[in-house]
């Protein structure tokens, strides 16, 4: 059973660079250790969100694609 996210974002329909920009804005609104859950449809997100997590030092908890919707969870580490 996964932990409850502090914030859920709807990024469906947004293309590069918006998913990364939105996650960057949103993460400031959760406490360190908190979780953000997001739903996106841009296929580029599958590569970009893991890359963003590596660049910014946050944790990618999960990323999965179901049909056309990508769901991912990021934990704020700093």
């Amino acid at each position: 059973m996964e932990l409850k996210p502090d914030l859920t974002l709807d990024l469906k329909g947004l293309l590069c660079p918006m998913p990364v920009v939105k996650i960057n804005q949103a993460i400031k609104n959760v406490p360190v250790g908190g979780l953000i859950e997001a739903y996106a449809t841009d296929p580029g997100v599958m590569a970009d969100i893991p890359a963003w997590c590596r660049s910014t030092g946050n944790e990618l908890v999960t990323i999965e694609k179901q049909d056309k919707v990508i769901r991912f969870v990021v934990r704020r580490l700093k």
Partner: protein
């Protein structure tokens, strides 16, 4: 080397060390290249990088206000052609403005963030926008002809200092 000079070295070195920065020369005034420039700039800023964009020559169109510019005949003529960011066309298939219209329509239908919105976002994310003094002189563009988000009007040495301590440098 005197002792105090040695002691000063690490601080100076740190000042010049490569940091988590991105420096970009934006030379082009083409819509497609400007899209790339602003997407990279906003993406980098959103990934925690310190971003500087140095706009020179045709790139100045991306940070111009729509108001007419120029003093001489040629200067005013340039001012008519280089209106503002809304007036930029693609580097290929512009067909006298038709391509610009087509790309704007296609990008809108695919929900791509439009260029003026990307520029606004860049400013909001703290991207530093600098304008090239020399090109402004040549093209007869004054500081007040540029959008307020432009932080400074500078020359090559300022850009090079910035670029020399950047992880990533790009020329677009």
């Amino acid at each position: 080397m005197a002792l105090e000079q040695i002691a000063e070295v690490p601080a100076a070195e740190a000042e010049r060390a490569v940091q988590n920065r991105l420096s970009m020369v934006v030379f082009s005034g083409d819509m497609d290249r400007l899209m790339a420039a602003f997407i990279i700039a906003t993406g980098a800023a959103a990934s925690g990088m310190n971003v500087t964009m140095f706009f020179t020559f045709w790139g100045l169109q991306a940070i111009k206000k729509p108001s007419p510019t120029g003093r001489s005949l040629f200067g005013r003529m340039l001012g008519v052609f280089l209106r503002d960011i809304q007036g930029v066309g693609p580097s290929k298939m512009n067909f006298g403005g038709l391509g610009r219209w087509m790309f704007k329509k296609m990008m809108k239908s695919h929900n791509v963030t439009p260029l003026p919105e990307l520029r606004r976002l860049a400013a909001e994310l703290g991207v530093r926008m600098l304008a090239c003094q020399m090109s402004m002189e040549v093209m007869e563009i004054r500081r007040e002809d540029l959008i307020d988000e432009v932080q400074d009007v500078v020359g090559v040495a300022t850009f090079l200092e910035e670029a020399s301590r950047s992880k990533i440098t790009l020329f677009i």
